[in-house]
Symmetry: C2
Subunit: 195 residues, 2 copies
Amino acid sequence: MVAVQQERSGREHILNTARDLFSTHGFHQTSMAELATAAKVSVGQIYRLFKGKEDIIEALIGMDMNDRIEKIDILRLRLKAGEIDIEQTFEHLFLLSLRDKDEALSFDILAEALRNRPVGETVSAMCQQFRRFLRDFACIANPHLSGEALDGAEEVILASIFGMGHRSLSLPNLSNECTARRAAQMIVAALKATR
Amino acid sequence: MVAVQQERSGREHILNTARDLFSTHGFHQTSMAELATAAKVSVGQIYRLFKGKEDIIEALIGMDMNDRIEKIDILRLRLKAGEIDIEQTFEHLFLLSLRDKDEALSFDILAEALRNRPVGETVSAMCQQFRRFLRDFACIANPHLSGEALDGAEEVILASIFGMGHRSLSLPNLSNECTARRAAQMIVAALKATR
């Protein structure tokens, strides 16, 4: 039991150090030796817990995915309970994306995912979960949506949420809060007008 | 004159080879020696034409930027001439993004842009040009847009176009053509409903 806990906290410690190093210097520009030095462990200890750098990246994606899915599921429950309406749900969804701080690392992960099948499959599985939530939200905004109209709505929502999380290089004028509010209004208006 | 032409075609040859290599293997995973071998030139010849790998990446961004801006300007002219309406303009804009083939390289470039100031400034300058076009298009869809409503519209359009160009990992159901048509309808409906 103690050994399992030690292993879990060892993994967490290495993952947190890896996230910082990969964020700052890049995934491919960070060696296992540099990670070991920063985490104050031996390279051997890292390899006892992870198969390699790819395994570390997959674990980081998994952590982020679970965290994001959990937050979206809380929004879904608040919406079903009538605590927030559908426009506020989208506003919170956009805010989650706009406040994402790991932009550089996320680009590294996506580039890796396109060149490395196991990493790509992990990212795709995450997207499929998002899609189900977004589809559900689109149908709440407009219960008449179906077929191609619903598929199209899903694409627009997914694309705009993804784009919002990666806008810092585009030097936006508008604050995150204003952007989320305006985007939610536009998306709900678009969904309601869709036939 | 011949020397200038030779230099230009030498640059183009190296840039085309670099694009292929960087796309396949990644920007940081490709060395100058590998680029020289693939381009059948010496490393010295590359350094006579480019300051380094960053300079090559900036030249690639510049090429892509000019190509994209040129295509958007043609859309603007066709719209002003009444050949296409505003919904068709957005449909073509989305299609340009959806048909972009260099997803992995574009993630490499964006990660580098966040960690490397000169590369970041090149990408940001490109985004500012896009923003001016998108703002112009938003005002054609709804001439009453101004202030925060217009700023918000600009963010949503920019985010959705960016997101559409990076959706392959999300395993979409809908074809590029259907997605572009549906997205254009939704964006124009959202713009018209915005106050």
